[in-house]
Every structure is written in C-alpha cells, then in structure tokens.
C-alpha cells in the first residue's frame, strides 16, 4: 500500500507543479480525443438519425451489425488501419503512420458505431407525434429532422460523451498507430502503459488522476444539464 500512497502523493505534487511532460501528454490526449469525437459526431449522428428515422429492408440487420461493432477490440482496429497506412499499405504514401491523424482515424472507426447505435436509440424513443406535428405545421424534411434531434438532444449528447470517454480511455489504437512518440503522439493511456513497463508509477498515477478527473467533470456537466431539464419538466 505504501507504493500506492507514495505514488499518489508524488503524482499530486506533479499535478500541482504543472509538470511540462504531464501537460504535453494531457494536451495531446485531449486534442486527439476532441477531433475524433468531433468528426465521429459529425458522421455518426446524421447516420444514426437516418437509420432510426427511415424504414428500409435491411434495417434490423444494419442495427445488428452496428451493435456487433461496439465490441470491436482496439487492437483489431489498430491492425486494420496499420495495414492501410503503413509504407506498404494503400495509403502509405500519405505518411500517416505514427501521427496524431492516424490515431484520429483509428478512433473514428472505434466510436462511429458507438455514436450511431446510441443515436438510433435516442431517436427511436422520440414520440412520432413530434414528426407529424412539425409536418402539419408546414415543416420540410430538414426542419422535421431538426425538431426530432432537438427533442432527442440529451440522448445524442450522451452518445457523444460516451464516445469521448471511449477514445480518451483507449490504449490499443493510440499505441499501434501513434507509436507513443514523446511530445507528438504520447497520450495519457500510452504514457501510463509505458511508465508501468518502466516500473515508474508516479507519472502513471498522475495521469490516471487526470483521466478520472476529466471523466468525472464531463459526467457532472451532463448530469447538471439533464437535472435542470428534469427539474423543469416535473
């Protein structure tokens, strides 16, 4: 237990001192996760809406496939993307391997099914009368879509937050496609894995604390938003 307490004490010291290495790692992590989540939301929310809103022949099969992709291991995604962007890969000439862009690409494959599935779930729960009310009041298809998304906003935000949580905490993609280059592609999780390998727990624990603090803060913000809405509607 002494090891843990000593590590926590030293980690707090690092955090309070705004250690430059720690700050760099946190910034890289946040930047990569932010762009992954942003692009994932831009692609996943409209796709999720379209699947939920429209009736088509293979709808159930598509949803089943998406749900299966939720369990896709990060190392599998890492391998798949690696095969495309490595020097011998189709996109090798783009020199994406071991860059933050490569991590973003891998993380997009990881979270797009998450965002689509949770958006489908959020949109499907919205009463059809919102659609008919908007239509009968003269709304066009785009305006109807906006009304439905507005009513499903908390479910959609929850989908995006879940996706952010998934990418900020994943290690396989960042390690395989980013390469854990210090100052460039070293994220909180890859740094923690490296420090663990070295037997240095202080930075790993400090990063763990930061990671948990972010997750906690995001959830608090979301709960506050939801709580305010629930209180308004009681």
């Amino acid at each position: 237990m002494d090891l843990l307490f000593d590590s926590v004490r030293s980690a707090i010291g690092l955090l309070l001192a705004f250690d430059s290495e720690l700050v760099d790692i946190v910034v890289v992590s946040l930047r990569v996760s932010f762009f992954s989540t942003l692009f994932g939301a831009l692609a996943g929310v409209p796709l999720g809406f379209l699947i939920a809103y429209n009736q088509f022949r293979w709808k159930r099969m598509v949803i089943t496939c998406l749900n299966t992709l939720l369990a896709l291991p990060t190392v599998v995604i890492g391998l798949l993307v690696y095969s495309f962007i490595s020097r011998r890969g189709v996109f090798g000439s783009l020199e994406l391997l071991y860059t933050q862009k490569a991590i973003v690409i891998g993380q997009l494959i990881l979270i797009i099914p998450v965002i689509i599935s949770l958006t489908i779930s959020a949109i499907s729960r919205i009463d059809n009368r919102y659609r008919t009310s908007a239509l009968t009041l003269g709304a066009n298809n785009l305006q109807v879509a906006w009304v439905i998304c507005r009513e499903a906003r908390f479910g959609i935000i929850a989908a995006i937050i879940a996706a952010f949580g998934r990418v900020i905490a994943e290690v396989g993609i960042s390690m395989m496609l980013g390469g854990n280059a210090k100052g460039f592609t070293r994220t909180m999780t890859t740094a923690m894995a490296l420090e663990y390998d070295k037997g240095e727990f202080v930075l790993a624990v400090a990063l763990g604390i930061v990671l948990m603090a972010f997750a906690f803060a995001i959830n608090i913000i979301f709960n506050l938003l939801q709580g305010r809405t629930n209180a308004d509607t009681v």
């Binding site: 009463d127 009368r129 008919t132 009968t136 009041l137 066009n140 298809n141 009304v147 507005r150 509607t233």
Partner: protein
C-alpha cells in the same frame, strides 16, 4: 359553396386490416364538419389522410380541385401549408408557449416582429396570452389543447383538422374550445373538420355530421339519431320508445346491454329495408309515406315520416328493381343490425 375535399374510393389498410373504406365524400369550403364514430372507427386515419400525413392504400383525394399526388414530396409539402391537424393528445415542443406557437411561422420564414404579433393574436384567440412565456411542458391538458389550437391558428390554414378536441378535457374547457372553433369559422374562411366519439350536441358546432363506423361512412346528415327509452323490458327483448316518434321498436337485450333506460339510438339508413307488400312484415316493420326522393351518385335516398324524418338509403339498382314514388305508402323494416345504441349523457336529449 366550392368543394374543398373530394374523396373517391378511398381505402386505407394497415397490414391486412382495412381501417377506412369511403366510396364518395364531398366537403365544401367554409364548413364545419363533425366526424363521429366509436374508437377505432377510422376517424383519426381519415383526418391524417386529409392532412396529407398518410398515403391512402387506394382511391384518390382531390383538394381544391387538384388531385393529390403522393409520389411527390414537394407537392405534399405545398398542400400541408394549407391544412393543419391538431392531434388528439398534442405534444408541445421543448421550450416556451411562444416558441411552440411561432414554430409554423418560423418555418414559413416570417419576420420576428410580425411573428410576435401573430403569436400574440393566436394566443389571445384561445385565451392563453397570459401563458406566452410559460414552459409549454408544464401546461394542463386543456391548456395544452388550446395552445396546440393556437399553434395551428397562427399559420392561418385554409383547413383546420381537430382530432377529438373535446377528449380528456373538462366540460368548461370543452365549451371554450367549441366557442373558439365556432368563432374561427365565423370570423375567417377556415374550414373545420373535427372528430368526436361523443354525440355532437348543441354547443358543438357542425354544419354537417359525418358518421364513421368500422371505416365506412354511413350517412352524411344529422338524421336518424333519436333519443330512446325502454318502455317495457320482458325476457330477452325490450320494447323501446323513440322520443317524438310514432313508432316503438322491439330490441333484444343484448343490443341494449351497453346502455341504461334512456339512450341514443342511431338507425343506419343503408340497412333499412323496403318491403314488398306481398310478404308478411317481420317485427319492427312500419307503414310510412315517402316525403322526399333524391338520387346521389349510385344511391337513392328517401325521406319518410315516423313522427320525425327518417332517412333511407338504397342502391340505385334496387330502386330500379322496386321503384318508389313521392307520396307513395311503403312498408319499411328496421332490422337489429341497422340499429346502434349509445349511452346518453345528462342534458343531451335530442328533442
């Protein structure tokens, strides 16, 4: 009056179930129509079709002289600008009452200042101006219905369709709602079609009543509805007296199971039989005189007198086979399957 809607051969199926089957129906501009029928009669389906929110399985709808083309989204979008349906249990969009009422104006790209004036006027019409900044989700059932009505009125539609405006609303709010409906119709040129599962009474305005039963339109006049009471109950049958009429009907107690001593009685004009004088008349047969005779498309309608006017509707073919003339005495038979009974609420007797 010019024709607003013309429906012909209109069919709507949900899976294998046929929920609507209307041969012909014409609705005129500027009218108030009450669409009456029991739960599941097809009222909401018909209103959804008239609001261009659903596609019929068969048949056609002509609106303002133009056949509705369901294959073109932009055509339906144009039509929906003129017709508004207020749902039976309307949902308010998240936000204030103002945000809800201005929705139809925003999508029509009406400027902010004009929007505000229209919203205030619409809310004033329904007596909800004082709630303009309230959270729409906090309104009571009656208030929600009035705001939903204002939301529809704000866009000044040619046709206002109201699905069960009186349902789940207390008597006071019902009275207010029907006053509003009457006023809107009188002040503007808005045609109003509303559905109800209750019998339209005096405070419920209606130039014409359409009765739907299991998806079929039975007749389109405020007729053949009587207040009836059980005169003698014996064994399996009871003798019932129709208020203001010279006839008494013998009905089985299974038909009367859902009502008390006094009730509404509706005689379906399409099921009234004209008997050949050579046959022995069964029970519930009466000799009457034909007062009026009208041909309507493939049907012929007779009016006879039984103390009140009774409408009979038969096919043109059967009329040709057995012609009837004005002033002629005929024998009619009212079979039990032509008769429907409904509970009577206090103070709703038809005199």
């Amino acid at each position: 009056m010019p024709t607003l809607f013309e429906l012909s051969g209109l069919i709507k199926d949900y899976g294998v179930r046929r929920v609507l089957d209307i041969n012909n129906l014409s609705l005129e501009k500027g009218g108030i129509y009450a669409l009456r029928g029991a739960n599941g009669a097809g009222k909401s389906t018909l209103l959804s079709l008239l609001a261009f929110l659903e596609t019929p399985t068969g048949g056609k709808i002509i609106f303002n002289g133009q056949e509705v083309n369901y294959g073109t989204g932009s055509h339906l979008y144009q039509l929906r600008q003129k017709v508004v349906l207020v749902d039976q249990s309307p949902l308010m969009f998240s936000g204030s009452v103002y945000h809800n009422v201005e929705f139809g104006l925003r999508v029509r790209k009406i400027g902010r200042v004009e929007r505000k004036q229209i919203v205030e006027k619409a809310l004033e019409q329904v007596g909800m101006l004082g709630f303009i900044d309230h959270d729409a989700s906090k309104l009571s059932g009656g208030e929600t219905k009035r705001v939903a009505l204002a939301r529809g009125l704000a866009v000044a539609p040619d046709v206002l369709l109201l699905d069960e405006p009186a349902a789940n609303v207390d008597l006071e709010n019902q009275r207010i709602l029907f006053e509003i409906i009457n006023r809107i119709n009188k002040e503007g040129s808005t045609s109003i079609i509303y559905s109800t599962h209750q019998f339209p009474v005096d405070e419920q305005p209606a130039h014409q009543i359409l009765i739907l039963d299991k998806g079929k339109l039975h007749f389109d006049r405020r007729c053949n509805i009587f207040t009836a009471s059980v005169k003698v109950a014996n064994g399996e049958k009871s003798v019932c007296r129709l208020a203001g009429c010279a006839i008494e009907l013998e009905l089985s107690n299974t038909v009367l199971a859902s009502v008390k001593d006094t009730f509404y009685l509706f005689i379906n004009p399409e099921k009234i039989e004209l008997l050949n004088s050579t046959t022995a008349p069964p029970e519930n047969s009466f000799g009457v005189e034909v007062l009026n005779l009208t041909r309507k498309e493939k049907r012929v309608e007779y009016t006879v007198h039984i103390g009140k006017e009774l409408l009979i509707s038969s096919t043109y073919r059967s009329y040709k086979e057995n012609p009837v003339y004005l002033g002629q005495g005929v024998m009619i038979h009212l079979p039990e399957d032509a008769i429907s009974v409904y509970p009577l609420k206090h103070g709703q007797e038809i005199n």
